[in-house]
């Protein structure tokens, strides 16, 4: 479903690419349609389980199979999860209706999909990308998933030419939200950021497990190219883009294909394309001429869905802090850049609150950020190591009681043991940071032992420093702080 049509005279987005975002002078216009399966217990219109990976055709019932006489009953929890997502995407939640989208296919049991058409649940939202790039969200509507077809024999796993096909209806009727962006995306990098951010929001609000590899999050990508200041080009829709990396690759490939086509005098035709991840190419699925006429009409088996204001406000109030706000808070707490990898990774793991805990008990937040990023990848959102232990460790390093190398060793031990008394642990290992006097003695010793390296270092050969630092470390049996050694060497050389 897409409101945008081909060769639009009026452009549907005012976002203009920067000069460095252009590709050989062409501006990319990208819009994404992302389908996500909602994390409900049961299906959108029946009581069968919504569960991935079960034995085929076990989570079925008369409604799921489209048996004659079976009627849909809307799942309130699905509506609530869709509203959570909509509100997290800054959408307006509005009274809405369901339509039938009619087409024949063996994995579509009723031969129509119940979806939302001209009155979707969530409209007019936006999502912020790094660098404060705002991508409009046109709508986020509810619909039911189809069954899953597997075709055997023949080419390319398609139904045409296959020997036989098997259908698993476990997925049929699973609640989906389709999130349609505005065509505000200008680079493949932004598209990847959009999907990544959307995924983070889905996880944060608990709307979906958003596993692209299991198909609970699926992307269709609309791509067109045009010269800045001219009407949008004809778009192509790419289906089967099943990882964030593929989103980038598919857009880059398709934009290049369209630019090359136009440059060689060709014309882009409105097509639906299939992304082949193995070959890194798109193939034509169908052209606009043989597009289905879905004959949408109001679903007479359902009544309009009118979420009352109190319900909407209750859902809004129950939203957790969203990833963007959490990244900002974590950046402010730790002094790291909000777009840094450490901040992104820790918020994605949900471990930002833990760093807050470390800071609250007096720990050094910026060191805790490094510790958690490096050593807590396999830990849950609330790591087993008590925040107080990490706080103690960070203070020991900050106050130069131990070196960063030693801190790393102790951290690994904390993680392995699920915590521990870091002061005792440091003592047991004989860890102590050397005071400057003792360190200076060792530095002098190293210089005396390797006068050749020393003169090279003084002459400005940075390579020579490594050898000197290395021998100081050896002399100190690893207790010397590398940074302090470097500083001493520099000071001596400049003296």
């Amino acid at each position: 479903m897409n409101a945008a049509t081909n060769g639009a005279v009026v452009n549907l987005s005012n976002v203009v690419a920067t000069a460095e975002q252009l590709v050989d002078g062409w501006e990319l216009v990208v819009g994404l349609e992302v389908h996500v399966e909602l994390a409900t217990k049961t299906k959108l219109f029946s009581a069968s389980a919504n569960r991935f990976g079960d034995e085929p055709n076990t989570n079925i019932d008369p409604v799921t199979l489209g048996l004659p006489g079976a009627l849909p009953v809307l799942n309130r929890h699905a509506v609530e999860l869709a509203m959570r997502l909509g509100l997290a995407l800054n959408c307006r939640v509005q009274p809405c209706t369901f339509h039938r989208k009619n087409y024949f296919y063996p994995d579509l049991p009723k031969a129509y999909q119940i979806s939302q058409y001209d009155q979707p649940l969530n409209v007019d939202g936006w999502l912020m990308l790094p660098g404060d790039v705002r991508i409009g969200v046109e709508r986020a509507h509810l619909e039911e998933d189809t069954g899953k077809s597997t075709h055997f024999g023949g080419a390319e796993g398609r139904i045409q030419g296959s020997d036989f096909s098997l259908i698993d209806f476990n997925r049929a009727g699973v609640p989906l939200v389709e999130i349609v962006s505005r065509p505000d995306i200008r680079t493949s990098e932004q598209a990847k950021q959009y999907v990544s951010e959307l995924r983070a929001i889905l996880l944060a609000v608990g709307a979906s497990d958003a596993k692209m590899e299991e198909g609970s999050m699926r992307c269709d990508v609309n791509v067109s190219v045009h010269k800045p200041g001219t009407p949008f080009g004809t778009r192509c829709e790419i289906k089967n883009v099943n990882s964030i990396r593929s989103v980038g690759r598919a857009i880059d490939y398709e934009a290049r294909r369209q630019i090359d086509l136009i440059n060689s005098g060709g014309v882009v035709k409105q097509q639906t394309l299939h992304w082949d991840d193995a070959s890194g190419r798109t193939n034509v699925l169908r052209t606009k001429e043989d597009a289905d006429d879905y004959r949408y009409f109001l679903e007479p088996d359902l009544v309009p869905l009118v979420p009352d204001a109190a319900w909407v406000e209750q859902v809004r109030a129950s939203l957790p802090p969203l990833p963007a706000a959490r990244r900002e808070a974590l950046a402010a707490l730790t002094g790291a850049a909000k777009e840094s990898e450490a901040v992104a990774v820790i918020v994605e793991r949900g471990q930002d609150a833990y760093i807050g805990e470390v800071a609250k008990v007096g720990g050094d937040a910026s060191r805790a950020l490094v510790y958690v990023q490096q050593a807590f990848a396999d830990e849950p959102a609330t790591p087993r190591v008590p925040a107080g232990d990490v706080a103690a460790l960070s203070l020991m390093e900050k106050n130069s009681k131990i070196t960063s190398t030693q801190a790393k060793t102790l951290l690994a031990e904390l993680v392995a043991n699920g915590g521990g008394d870091v002061i005792a642990m440091a003592k047991a290992k004989g860890f102590e940071a050397m005071d400057t006097g003792a360190l200076e003695l060792l530095v002098d010793q190293a210089i005396a032992a390797d006068p050749d390296a020393w003169s090279k270092f003084k002459a400005g050969e940075q390579k020579a420093m490594g050898a000197l630092v290395g021998s100081v470390m050896k002399l100190s049996k690893g207790k010397a702080d590398g940074k302090a050694v470097t500083a001493l060497l520099q000071a001596k050389a400049n003296a």
């Binding site: 031969a111 129509y112 009409f297 007479p300 009544v303």
Partner: protein
Amino acid sequence: MTVRRTAVDIAASVAAGELTATAVLEENLAAIDAREKEVHAFNLVTADRARERAASIDADVKAGRNVGRLAGVTVALKDNMCTRGVETTCSSKILEGWKPPYDATVVRRLADAGAVVVGKTNLDEFAMGSSTENSAFGPTRNPLDTSRVPGGSSGGSAAAVAAGFSTVSFGSDTGGSIRQPAALCGLVGVKPTYGMVSRQGLIAFGSSLDQIGPFTSTVADAALLMEVIAGHDPLDSTSLPQPAPALSSVLSQGVKGMRIGRITDMPEGSSPDVLARLEAAFDALRQAGANVVDVTMPSMSYGLTAYYLVAPAEASSNLARFDGVRYGLRVDAKDLNSMYGDTRAAGFGDEVKRRIMLGTYALSAGYYDAYYGKALKVRRLIADDFAKAYQSCDVILTPTSPTVAFKFGDKTSNPLAMYLCDVFTIPTNLAGHAAMSVPFGTGESGLPVGVQVLAPALGEAPMFRVAAELERAV
């Protein structure tokens, strides 16, 4: 013909131990043995199941257990209502042999109330028709004159009661499919307010129009059955959030002071015998103390056109699931599209195909606004006209059918003539209102004439009061 027992009498007598359910059933089965070959009311007679059921009710009575409001009442079900483990065909080859894994809500409520199902009745395929001639399994004959049709699409259900095959029966009404056969067979037939009776388990024709309702010999029986089957069902999202209305208690209230609407711009084409009976009905109500008031329904004559866009449009979508993939008929073919085409070509009859094509066309890109979209506007106009009319009256009287029962083949070659049978019944479905047909004497050839009582949404109580008065006046 023997005097038929009413459902009210049977239920009371069986519960009191004065009559056995088995005795009631055996009378019906004997009548079926005698005349079913000639009438062909049923697609399936479930005699064994019915005997078991009747015996179990009799045992319950003996043991002093509660047997429900319809204890021992025999019912026939239109064969588009799902019955668990019992073949349900819609009189279509495409569903031949299909056994639903569940009961329709109405079927379950009837069973809970102690009713005994004697069989599944014939219908125009997928309820599309007005004579039951469109059944894939052959037509049903009118028991009152077997050279004539029983009406349709619920012709089998009407014939079953008229022939004494069951005490009462159930049909579905999308554009008149209960009321018109009730009129043609001399029975009471009710189309409840849309949403009053659950559609769960009713195989859909026009989902926004379909309602299940009873065929009975008396108004009191119809009231009793409505009280049993109506009321909210969480499995049907269009089911109204309220309990069944109390109707049995209003029947004796009379019509004194009630305002009875007479449509001054009624669509033409009714035969004089039918119009004479309508006049007699107005007279009877006047004599009982009601006031007859003139109302207008300028949009009424557009109802037929709007209906033949809305109902086929929904049907084209509802019937798309019969694709040979999961159940019912499959004609094997070289590829998927040929399998779809061959299966549906072999499985559906001409009238069903005609309506699927009509509906598909009406919803197609480029035609939607001109056809389906415009039909929806007419639908609103009709509702508006009714709303205006009901400001000055409580119910409206019209003929149910323009004519008495017609002969076989009279209208089969002319679909439009057949469609005109429903000109008075269709507007009610488009508006989602209530209506019922009450037998009110006879017309040409001594055949019964039905008068239709129209009421606004949830107007069942005044509708039944008027119907009861007409019944008393005959």
